[in-house]
């Protein structure tokens, strides 16, 4: 059965682009021009994934996501941001959102991220399931995947455990350090968060999400407030 995706954006032309991109991959796509249409659609049926534009006229992406979570809708969500309005990430992570794409995006980027998120939630619940190659369990990517899934499901303790496991297996995955940093920050453990971002940057100094997080934490302690949002990595 085809996976069902809902695209929520106030721009019809953008929705068209997303729809065609996803339909060519064989997904069933439904469009919504805003919060009202989206909520109505959720009444009728369940979706495997929501693509949500960060900036919309009436209710912005995070507010809509908060409403969805309030109604018990656990739909995994990809958030589309524009330069300058990356969502505030404590909010975003608390709502289980860690997958972002920045406008303007290409069909390949959208397909790749959608495929990753869908696969994440289809993945075997535990490592003992056999047909998966051995490497998958030893290079930390299984635990990273499991951690992301746990964050999507807002199970942060489990996410932390998986991230720590992933770290044990492979210390060189930037994303792991970055996500651990955001988790630490969520628990207001700023020194650990700073250390995590530092390690991520040490691995690759041009890794944008960790750079932004580090910058924000730096500003938080040097200027008292920051306009730089959390960045959970795309």
């Amino acid at each position: 059965m085809n996976k069902k995706i809902i695209v929520i954006d106030d721009e019809p032309n953008v929705r068209l682009g997303y729809r065609i991109t996803l339909e060519t991959e064989g997904f069933a796509v439904q469009e919504a021009n805003g919060a009202a249409q989206a909520m109505a659609a959720f009444e009728g049926e369940a979706f495997d994934l929501a693509i949500l534009d960060m900036r919309m006229p009436e209710l912005d992406g995070l507010e809509l996501l908060a409403q969805m979570r309030e109604r018990g809708l656990d739909t995994p969500t990809v958030i589309i941001t524009a330069y300058g309005d990356v969502p505030h990430a404590v909010k975003a992570m608390k709502l289980g959102a860690i997958d972002f794409l920045q406008k303007p995006l290409t069909p390949e980027q959208l397909r790749a991220l959608v495929a990753e998120v869908i696969a994440r939630h289809e993945a075997p619940p535990a490592p003992e399931v056999p047909p998966i190659p051995l490497k998958y369990f030893t290079d930390g990517s299984f635990h990273l995947l499991a951690a992301k899934r746990a964050i999507n499901n807002r199970n942060f303790d489990m996410a932390r455990e998986h991230l720590m496991e992933a770290l044990k297996q492979n210390d060189y995955v930037i994303e792991v350090h970055n996500l651990l940093g955001v988790l630490s920050e969520m628990h207001e453990d700023y020194p650990t968060a700073k250390k995590c971002y530092g390690r991520a940057i040490a691995i690759n100094s041009s890794y944008e999400p960790a750079q932004q997080n580090m910058r924000r934490i730096f500003e938080l302690f040097n200027f008292g407030s920051s306009k730089e949002p959390f960045n959970l990595g795309e």
Partner: protein
């Protein structure tokens, strides 16, 4: 002055003269009187002796004749009579004492009587008569003569003794008088010397005292002109100088007053609060804007806390506090409105550079901040509004070119590829504009940390190597040894490297080399990107870092903002940027960064 000294010393001369004269006359009197008395009396004594002796001889002569020695007696008498007479004459002309005249007269009378009798005696041949005459008349007369002569000798001798005694007593009293006179002379001399000293020193001391007061700024002092001599002229000249000084100060203080008034008027017209502080932090001056602000904020003439801490830092000799970013503005409520004040603190130094106070300017930047916010919002809005249509355009183009929804003929593909390239270019331009706007508004805060230059270069090389090699060139690095750390935002510097390298690659032929280097330069570190491209004509090198500038004839590839952004980044980090290039010899784009204040050798 000469007169003063002369009149001061003249009494001393006179005193010396008088005393000298007195002493000379005294000694003369003393010597003279003794001498005359002794000489005259001595003469009388001698005459007396002679007379006595002659009288005795004459008496003996008479007596010889009585005993038969007629001839011998006559001869002896004849010899001594003139001697007696001669000495009697002497005595008669040497009368010096009271009573001497009578004695001399008596002697003369007795002698005349004796001589008359003697003539009769000699004429008498009768021996008996002669004897009678001798014993009856001659002998008593002789005895009287002898006694009288003796009396003359005695009074003269007595007088000599008396004169000697008088001379002694005169000498003793003279000594006493002389001692008294010397003491009086000394006292007088001391008095005159004291007067002389006072009359010379007093005017000089007066000038000295007034000079001191003048030095202390009391210009209305006058030295009394007591005389017409050199000291008086000095005092007069001094007073004239003081008058000129007074006039000069009047002019100067008028000018200062005028300058002060000008400053105050300018400051009162100044819309921003200006506060001048003394070196101990006391407020010396506030302009009306500052007074209003203090009043509205109910600050009771104290500086707002943020400014206060900077003032203390500057007064301790710190650098001036001249923030340019509105982020440093402090927010206060004035008349129920949020007002943003940007404090600036400038140390006031004299010519020798020592600090004597500080000026605080509280610039009202509320409007600028508002504008800044409007600009930021505008940027964000434009970003969203431009990027949303661009998203659907790009997405559509990409989808069509994928040919998953239908195949395209070559001409359609060509058109769509051109459209896709331009949509990418449009995106780069929008991103560049946003970067620039962000950098300019200061929103892009710097994450500055000490980092070693090799680390910066190696990290840039790592990220850019693939990009360079994909375009058929090689990437090399060249690092000097022992470079000190630099204090920079590594991500932004990476952006600059990326911009330089992408330019370099564009102008380097396939197979060429792009070199990243770091070395000491001046007080900092110079980072360069060197290419083997065609170089840039000298005429364009200055404009390269201007916005929207493109070397005419160069291949169009962007908005011409890349180097402008690079410049903004480097300048924001306290560095400078530039290019060395010669047509045909490639180009070196470089930026110099100051070394870290805390960082050590890397």
């Amino acid at each position: 002055m000469k007169q003063r000294i002369f009149f001061g010393l003249a009494p001393l001369f006179i005193l010396l003269l008088v005393m000298g004269g007195y002493a000379v006359s005294l000694f003369a009197r003393l010597g003279n009187s003794v001498d005359v008395i002794l000489r005259e009396n001595f003469r009388s004594v001698v005459a007396g002796q002679q007379m006595k002796e002659a009288a005795e001889r004459m008496d003996s002569a008479l007596f010889f004749s009585l005993v038969g020695e007629e001839e011998r007696g006559t001869k002896m008498y004849g010899q001594n009579l003139p001697i007696f007479q001669e000495n009697l004459d002497l005595e008669l002309h040497n009368i010096t004492l009271p009573g001497e005249q009578q004695l001399a007269d008596k002697t003369r009378d007795l002698h005349e009587q004796y001589a008359a009798r003697a003539r009769i005696f000699w004429e008498t041949t009768d021996m008996e008569l002669r004897r009678k005459m001798y014993f009856g008349e001659m002998l008593p007369t002789f005895t009287a003569i002898k006694d009288t002569a003796q009396e003359i000798i005695r009074i003269n001798q007595d007088n000599m003794i008396e004169a000697d005694r008088q001379a002694r007593s005169l000498s003793a009293s003279s000594t006493r008088y002389m001692i008294l006179a010397v003491i009086a002379g000394l006292a007088l001399a001391a008095y005159f010397a004291f007067r002389l000293q006072r009359s010379i020193l007093q005017p000089i001391q007066a000038v000295t005292a007034v000079s001191r007061e003048l030095g202390d700024g009391k210009l209305d002092q006058v030295v009394p002109v007591a005389s017409q001599d050199e000291l008086g002229q000095l005092a007069d000249a001094f007073n004239k100088m003081a008058t000129k000084l007074r006039a000069y100060r009047q002019v100067t203080s008028d000018q200062i007053l005028q300058a002060r008034q000008m400053t105050e008027i300018t400051f009162s017209a100044f819309p921003d609060a200006i506060i001048a502080l003394a070196s101990d932090g006391r407020i010396n001056f506030t302009n009306p804007a500052a007074d209003r602000l203090f009043h509205k904020l109910d600050l009771r003439s104290a500086l707002p806390a943020v400014a206060q801490s900077e003032v203390e830092r500057v007064l301790k000799g710190g650098e001036d506090y001249l923030p340019t970013s509105f982020e440093k503005a402090m927010c206060v409520r004035v008349d129920d409105q949020e007002t943003f004040l940007l404090p600036r603190v400038i140390g006031m130094r004299d010519e020798s550079g020592s600090l004597f106070g500080a000026a605080v300017i509280l610039q009202d930047v509320t409007r600028f901040r508002l504008l800044d916010e409007v600009k930021t919002n505008l940027v964000s809005t434009v970003s969203h509004e431009l990027k949303t249509p661009l998203t659907s355009v790009r997405m559509g183009l990409h989808l069509l070119l994928e040919e998953r929804i239908g195949s395209l003929n070559p001409k359609q593909i060509e058109l769509l590829l051109a459209a896709r390239d331009d949509s990418e270019r449009l995106l780069r331009m929008i991103n560049d504009l946003l970067d620039l706007a962000k950098l300019e508004s200061g929103k892009s805060r710097l994450l500055r940390q000490p980092i070693s230059p090799p680390e910066l270069v190696e990290s840039a090389a790592r990220e850019l190597r693939d990009f360079v090699e994909a375009r058929g060139s090689k990437l090399a690095t060249k690092l000097a040894y022992e470079l000190p750390s630099v204090d920079v935002d590594a991500q932004q510097i990476a952006h600059v490297f990326s911009n330089f390298v992408s330019n370099a690659v564009k102008h380097t032929k396939v197979g060429g080399e792009v070199t990243l280097s770091a070395k000491r330069h001046g007080g900092g570190v110079r980072f360069s990107v060197i290419d083997q491209g065609p170089g840039i004509p000298a005429g364009y090198q200055d404009q390269l870092f201007d916005r929207f500038f493109r070397v005419p004839g160069a291949e169009v590839s962007g908005a011409g903002l890349g180097l402008a952004i690079a410049k903004e980044i480097v300048v924001a980090q306290g560095g400078s940027i530039g290019v060395h290039s010669k047509p045909g010899e490639g180009s070196e784009f470089f930026f110099d960064l100051p070394i870290s204040e805390t960082g050590g050798e890397s």
